[in-house]
Amino acid sequence: MSTSVEPFNRLVKLAARAFYDDITTKGDNQPKAGGRSDNRGIAVVVLDALTRRQWVREEDLAKDLKLHSKQLRRTLRFFEEEKLITRDHRKETAKGAKLYSAAIAATADGQQVGKEGEEKVKLHTHSYCCLDYSQIYDVVRYRLHRMRKNLKDELEDKNTVQEYICPNCGKRYNALDALQLVSLDDEYFHCERCNGELVAESDKLAAQEVGEGDDNARRRRREKLKDMLQKMEVQLKPLMEQLSRVKDLAVPEFGTLQAWEARASAAGRAANGDSSSNDPSKSSQGLGYGGTPMPFIGETKVEVAFSGVEGKDDVKPETSTSSLKVLPPWMIKQGMNLTKEQRGEVKQESKMDGTLAAPAVELSDEKKSINGNDAQSNLQDEYVKAYYAALLQKRQELEEAAKKQQESSQTLNSNDVSDSSSSRQVGMKSKRVEIDGDDDWEEAPVGASTIESFKVNDLNFEAEASGDDEDDIWEEG
């Protein structure tokens, strides 16, 4: 299900640096103005930016990159010709723009689907672009193949027109004159002027560099070619390795702009649990999205580091956070080892509702900075601060307790858990108010990281497996 984009993005970045590093996209009418208008490197920047996006409106991209939209369009047109990206142009109504915004919102942060009426677009033609990963894979491979073939062909004198020279009068001929040169008497070519026997000039390259020292020139040229071939193999090695790594992976496919929009906003709605029927993309929901939500790229990962907890956060966060979280019913399967709290059963509920204030008092007593009575009315950030401090303290206590009572942990632990969870409820309550989508994105990084690590293993395996047949692919006959 998870087609991962990361290895392909790496491929794009490598290819960008290898082949498009010094591309300038100048308009024909622009004079060569030297330094100022030199926009080398822009191609790389644009490609990199595209690896962090899916379908993107070109105006928005220009804005993000602080580029003039004309300049960006020129670069994009170049990449379209290079077959690296697909583009889509459409006349847009306000509705169409909204559709896109909805999709973007869904991919960006999973919040607020559809900025209502923010962008009223008249009927304007808008262009969108998107990397075409499967084609990029082919294009890069083909390009490497052509490079290697050209060099090898030249090294082996393939595709070169044979030249002949008359040793008597020095007149030159080439293979295209062959018909006039054949003689019926023997099996050699003869000079038209003096009927001398022609000798083949074994190298076209030498012939190009006219005059004296033919042998030297030829040898130099051959050396240069060999050198180039070798350099190519060395310098493009990372790219080739990435190609072979990516070889058997499923290629990320964003589909057409319309399909992508529909899919993205549908996925966004699903993530939010938002089934509002007036969603702008509702109308186009029908068109083909295959059910699998896109793995969204460029997601921001948030890591919260508690100071002083770094060393020991292996086990503890597990107990303190996940134990109290009420799992949604569809996640609970038979045979899962869950506490009652996790199952969201009544006892916990009543605790939450009825005795909310009590743990808060306990907490603040321990902390000695906040008065229990004021707790509810205090500013929220103070509350949060207290919560984190308490949590930290609790953790340390827990650890000590765990050290002491390792053997009889089973019963004690459950106590601890309920204890810590109740203490956390307070914080949760206050936190719930400000970050509502909490549950959603708290889970996301966990899932992503596991996928990531799995992927890495997979890649290594891949590289090992296909390491040796890489050579065979392009071998010339």
Partner: protein
């Protein structure tokens, strides 16, 4: 490569062909004049497949001949650089071999013949691999790639190579 194209030509017709069969006469003369010729631009005219349109005739001053602009459909054959062709070997010598693909003559010089094939002189000069399994001699069919063309007003000459993947002898009548 073959193309089916429409070409135009001014035909001069002697007054004695005028009459009921004027059009048939024009078509017959067109075939006789055009088929088998070669122009550098379009290649060899292989066959005329139909008359598209015959314009109004114009009487030439002094002679009585009439000129008709005739548009006709025809099949042309034009070799291109990089094209793969199948051809019949016509002559083998020390410098390489000549082959024909229809009207086109192709020369393959010896450095574009695989290195493991050596020239053998005799009544039947040929290029043979060291183990004798592959032999290029007169009347062999070979698949080759065109690497250069010389296009004159009335002639096209090509040079080719068999030093690449999937090129070389495809059928040797001597061994069948």
């Amino acid at each position: 490569m073959f193309f089916h194209i429409i070409l135009e030509r001014n035909m001069q017709l002697h007054p004695r062909y005028f009459g009921r069969n004027l059009r048939e006469n024009l078509a017959a003369k067109l075939m006789k004049d055009v088929e088998g010729t070669c122009s550098g631009r379009h290649g060899f005219v292989v066959a005329i497949t139909g008359i598209e349109n015959i314009g109004k005739g114009l009487i030439r001053d002094g002679t009585g001949f009439v000129t008709f602009p005739v548009k006709y459909q025809c099949v042309v054959f034009r070799p291109f650089k990089g094209e793969i062709l199948e051809a019949v070997v016509t002559m083998v010598n020390k410098m390489g071999f000549f082959a024909e693909a229809g009207p086109v003559q192709i020369f393959v010089s010896n450095h574009l013949i695989p290195d493991d094939m050596e020239f053998q002189s005799g009544d039947m000069p040929n290029y043979t691999t060291s183990d004798g399994s592959v032999k290029i001699q007169k009347d062999c069919e070979v698949r080759l790639k065109i690497i250069g063309t010389r296009v004159d007003a009335t002639e096209i000459f090509c040079i080719g190579t068999i030093k690449d993947d999937f090129l070389g002898v495809i059928n040797d009548p001597a061994t069948v």
